[in-house]
Amino acid sequence: MTTATLKTGIQPISTGRRVKDRVVQVLVYLAFLVAVVPLVSVLYLVIKNGLARFDMEFLTHSMRNIGPNDAGGGAYHAIVGTLEQVLLASLIAVPIGLLTAVYLVEYSRGGRLARAISFFVDVMTGIPSVVAGLFILAFWILVLGFEFSGFAGAMALSILMMPTVVRATEEMLRLVPMDLREAAFALGVPKWRTIVKVVLPTALTGIVTGVMLAVARVAGETAPVLLTVFFTDSINTDPFHGPQMDLPLFIFSQMQLPNQTAIDRAWAGALTLILIVMLLNLLARLISWWRSPVRKG
């Protein structure tokens, strides 16, 4: 019989154990604070510095004929570019991603093709964004001889979107209960109509959430568009011809200029970009929240 068992009654735990528990608790709280500090700092500076130039001129004018030292100018051309490129990227990535997921969940029988696709979707998830840009550069611009364009950038972004869309859709489709499919089959509804009319609508909100998060992510990508869209200071609303601009590129090019007016424009661009990205994220969260009112704690 050991010493601890000789005494009776409720024994307080040893000071060492209590102290260790407290120390870990303090460390855990500290870790959280340390993690939040940069976020607060980034958001604070983006809002504070960004508001200096976040005005109507910024939102409605391009940088055409504005030298690096000049005040004024804006990111209209970049905003247009971002919206067009992201829309085009979604138009490419969503159908391919969605249908691939449908194949994986509904049609493949776990065969060799399905396993290959599944494996390469994983590989695709890990492609560094700059490599996606290099690929479109090599394939579209260097080999096929097309010019730098918003569309080339959209293709690079779509490569980054695809695996996210596939995985999000796959997950949602697998959540659709078997009973629903069987109920439709039992009514004599053919399989493809079951998928289109029953399975996809059931999974729709989840898929939309996944797509929105993917869009939010690629909207902030710089490296792939740097290699495929190039730069311009003018408004180019045609994404298929000639260099375009977009917000990340705008920020990146302005912040490299060694004077305050340019840096101010970079911060205003960052504020615009963050607003767009946060809006997309918020929308995605709202959709998924609306779908499942009972949230897990």
């Binding site: 735990i13 528990d21 870990v24 608790q25 855990v28 709280y29 870790a31 959280f32 993690a35 939040v36 940069p38 980034v42 500076l45 983006v46 159908p95 391919i96 991603g97 249908l99 691939t100 194949y103 969940v105 049609y107 029988r109 399905a114 290959a116 696709i117 994983d122 590989v123 695709m124 890990g126 492609i127 560094p128 964004s129 700059v130 490599v131 996606a132 290099l134 690929f135 090599a138 080999v143 490569i159 697998r174 078997m178 089959f185 004599g188 053919p190 399989k191 493809w192 079951t194 289109v196 939010a216 992510r217 909207a219 902030g220 710089t222 490296a223 740097l226 840096i263 946060m278 994220n281």
Partner: protein, 326 residues
């Protein structure tokens, strides 16, 4: 444990639905299979075109690609080597990982087991927001705010801890490997924290109660029931974070000192990375220069592929373990 297991692959498809196929079924099956094949074709094309464009540049290279320390592919005698860039990529990402992982585990534990329940999910969103901030914004923040801010602490480290080779060196700058690593750490922290939080939340409640019932404190409970269960998940999360750090371009493109030498003195103006070099060198690259950058991109792809595969292997193991324990 059981909820973590996904349905077997192709579950619903295993069942035959009808006696004969309806007219629309064959085209739809065709189209969806086709989409999958397109995806495979894209992956194949990525490999083929990157290699096709890298090979001529590598053939024109008059230096050893693996061991040469400089990057002058645009010169009349093109010479370039990956060594410095690969070194910088791996070392800066590794330092970022060392900084980010412990903090991320703390954040994950805070949200899963320490924060008041009502606060926890909100705080989880706050951390997720960190992940949503575009990397170029971190780059702008790092370049204009963190770089000057890092000078005094770097000088301090150099003065008092200079005897540690890591902090040694004669000149100390804000644009250093350490600053770049710090920005990378901030960027990968939310990813590691989010995945770790998920696995910590999945730790079986029955085991947590078993530990509490033995008279464990909260920390002892976490060590007995949560960490052993979550360890593989945390390791794979860290590996995914490492992969992300290696591929990150813009946030560090203007922070790395962009020099071509190998040095472990992370406070002095040494260091570069593959991704940063692509962003910085692309503008003035000629044909061979572009090919050289593409070759370096291939190397980056291979390194991240290796890291991600390791992460995935660990996740697969964890699933087996979860199955065995269920």
């Amino acid at each position: 444990m059981a909820q973590d297991l996904k349905k077997p692959e192709g579950g619903p498809a295993m069942r035959r639905s009808a006696f004969r196929r309806s007219r629309g079924d064959t085209p739809f099956r065709f189209v969806s299979t086709g989409a999958g094949i397109v995806l495979l074709a894209i992956m194949a094309a990525i490999a083929v075109f990157l290699i096709a464009k890298a090979v001529p540049a590598l053939q024109a290279n008059k230096a050893n690609f693996l061991t040469y320390f400089d990057w002058t592919p645009n010169a009349t005698v093109p010479m370039f080597g990956i060594a410095v860039l690969a070194f910088g990529t791996v070392v800066s990402s590794f330092i970022a990982l060392v900084i980010a992982t412990p903090i991320a585990i703390g954040v994950a534990l805070f949200i899963s087991h320490y924060a008041p329940r009502r606060l926890a999910s909100t705080l989880g969103y706050v951390v997720d927001l960190l992940a949503a901030v575009p990397s170029v914004v971190y780059g702008l923040w790092g370049f204009t705010f963190l770089v000057p801010l890092m000078v005094p602490p770097s000088k301090f480290l150099n003065t008092y801890f200079g005897w540690i080779p890591l902090f040694g060196g004669d000149s100390v700058v804000g644009r250093s490997m350490l600053t770049a690593s710090l920005v990378l750490a901030i960027m990968i922290l939310p990813i590691i924290a989010a995945i770790s939080r998920e696995v910590f939340l999945q730790a079986p409640k029955t085991l947590e109660e078993a530990a509490y019932a033995l008279g464990a404190t909260r920390w002892e409970m976490i060590r007995m029931a949560v960490l052993p269960f979550g360890r593989p998940g945390v390791i794979s999360a860290a590996m995914l974070g490492l992969g992300r750090a290696m591929g990150e371009t813009i946030a560090v493109a203007l922070i790395f000192p962009i020099t071509f030498n190998i040095s472990f003195q992370i406070l002095s103006p040494n260091g570069n990375s593959i991704a940063a070099n692509i962003a910085n060198g692309f503008g003035e690259a000629n044909a061979i220069g572009r090919g050289a950058l593409i070759a370096s991109g291939l190397v980056l792809f291979l390194i991240t592929l290796l890291v991600n595969s390791m992460a995935r292997l660990i996740i697969a193991r964890r699933k087996e373990y979860a199955r065995a324990a269920a």
